[in-house]
Symmetry: C2
Subunit: 309 residues, 2 copies
């Protein structure tokens, strides 16, 4: 029988974010952090695999634990420094420049999946070096009904394409933004890009279009999940990770994974992303209640529905 | 009782279109042309008001008539030349430059609404000088259940803003693209822009986002109609007019106009636009059968639906 475990792999980090109106200072960040927090709105059992330095505050770990994220698989390196990223958004918030990246403990990350998550039915490979994602896959107990999701970005296409392609072969669901889908496929059209990416392995290709929503391609039939129009976007950091978290958490919480479930999961991901971008860093996810999340899901339903409610 | 008449006002013209792969030569164009052709997929009775020169081929008029568009209100000016527009698309097809515009007979256009369309239940004011749109409104027989739709563009905001605002006051539905919505409202966010445009008059604000679909704001609740992802976009010319045509034709064909009807109409507009962009100029609309149109509607339904079909 399928379990409700979602194994989440990704960075836990310090972020420093500059938007046109705010500077965050050094705050909690990292793909696994956002994914875990977003997945916590579902009934999944969430286990995180990551690496942090000695400088990583215990309160950050406590925060994740309080949200039901099992941090047994988060290795803390004595004397090490946590991964650090600093970025600055352009005026329209659609682009950003990386000002600083310090890999620190991430450079030698040797992920270890905790015993009780080796059989996880859902595995979410968050944005990270493909070689590390592969090491995680190698440790897992085989199970035919497992769903493996991958989130990645152009950085890995540029510097580790062959490892990335090897991982992509093994995943069921890939989430990738529109520009990166074009880059990965070499196409200049999203429909053709999705077809090409299907051939690389994933049965489900999810193209993230930011404020325009997300497009799922499955058996070449598209499904479009619009994003909630928001009056204010404070900080887009982590929106893609939050999307991946809502999606993978939803899938883990289901008895079986079906195409319909993937679509519902995309709505969960969209709801999580909309909460994320409403505040700096993880604050939008951290401050949101279960009710806030349910409200976003309801608003998304209304956004998609003809019947006036 | 509401009638099924859609009065359509707009240009009929010669277009010359250059895309990255094709040059059209001098072909049939104009807002009223695209609107009329798109509306012809519905059960509306369509009456066009426009102006053409002596150079306008009879076969173009015959084409419209064959599609059920009543061209009684299209004035042909003896010795006059038809409106002419030449434009060139950038590589990504999302932007274009106007290379030439010759107003010709449009410069002195004095629209006359045919007797039998004075009571039209739906009036679609296609992209045209606001003063001309106003002249059309002035001629109509008052009727409380009339729905007036307006399509406009930045050009009129730049050179005739006060007349445009006066027309906007009198319309129920405005269709406008995203950048133009920001320009018209002075906001830098679509939700805020829609709120501001509501205050200018229209109860329904429809923001066209091209390949990303269209957003309806009604009583501040948004509805998102995604566009069909297409493998090939041949020529975006007329997509917005086709959208307006499908929408207004649908509304005219209904017994009453409701918020639900506006949303369904947006899907009709989206279907028409997707046919339009698949070929040069009006060819996509002209060659499409009723069945082709129904197929697009079905694909749009599937694009929006969780249940796997």
């Amino acid at each position: 029988m399928k379990n409700n475990k979602a194994l989440v792999v990704g960075t836990m980090a310090f972020d420093e974010i500059i938007t046109p109106t705010q500077e965050s200072g050094k705050i909690l960040g990292g793909a696994a952090t956002y994914i875990g927090l977003a997945a916590s709105f579902t009934n999944a059992a969430i286990g995180a695999v990551s690496v942090i330095g000695e400088d990583f505050p215990q309160e950050y770990l406590d925060l994740l634990t309080a949200r039901g994220v099992d941090v047994t698989g988060v290795e803390q390196v004595s004397g090490g420094k946590s991964f650090y990223w600093k970025g600055k958004y352009h005026n329209n918030m659609n682009k950003r420049d990386t000002l600083d990246t310090q890999l620190n403990v991430l450079a030698d990350f040797d992920p270890k999946v905790p015993e009780n998550y080796l059989d996880a039915a859902v595995v979410m490979l968050g944005n990270l070096a493909p070689a590390v994602q592969q090491q995680v896959l190698n440790q897992l107990t085989p199970r035919p009904d497992r769903v493996v999701l991958l989130d990645t970005m152009n950085f890995w296409m540029d510097i580790a394409l062959s490892e990335l392609l090897e991982v992509i072969k093994q995943v069921d669901v890939i989430t990738i933004n529109d520009e990166e889908a074009l880059q990965l496929s070499g196409e200049n059209n999203l429909v053709l890009a999705a077809k090409a990416i299907h051939k690389l392995g994933p049965e489900y290709v999810i193209i993230k279009k930011g404020e325009h929503g997300a497009l799922l391609f499955y058996k070449d039939h598209p499904f479009y999940a619009p994003a909630l129009p928001l009056e204010k976007v404070i900080d887009p950091t982590g929106a893609g990770d939050s999307f991946a978290g809502g999606l993978s958490g939803y899938l883990a919480a289901q008895q079986t994974v079906t195409p319909e479930g993937i679509k519902e999961g995309i709505l969960y991901g969209t709801a999580a992303a909309s909460l994320c971008v409403g505040a700096m860093g993880t604050e939008g996810l951290v401050k949101a209640s279960e009710e806030d999340f349910a409200t976003r899901l309801h608003e998304l339903e209304r956004l998609r529905t003809i019947a006036q409610k």
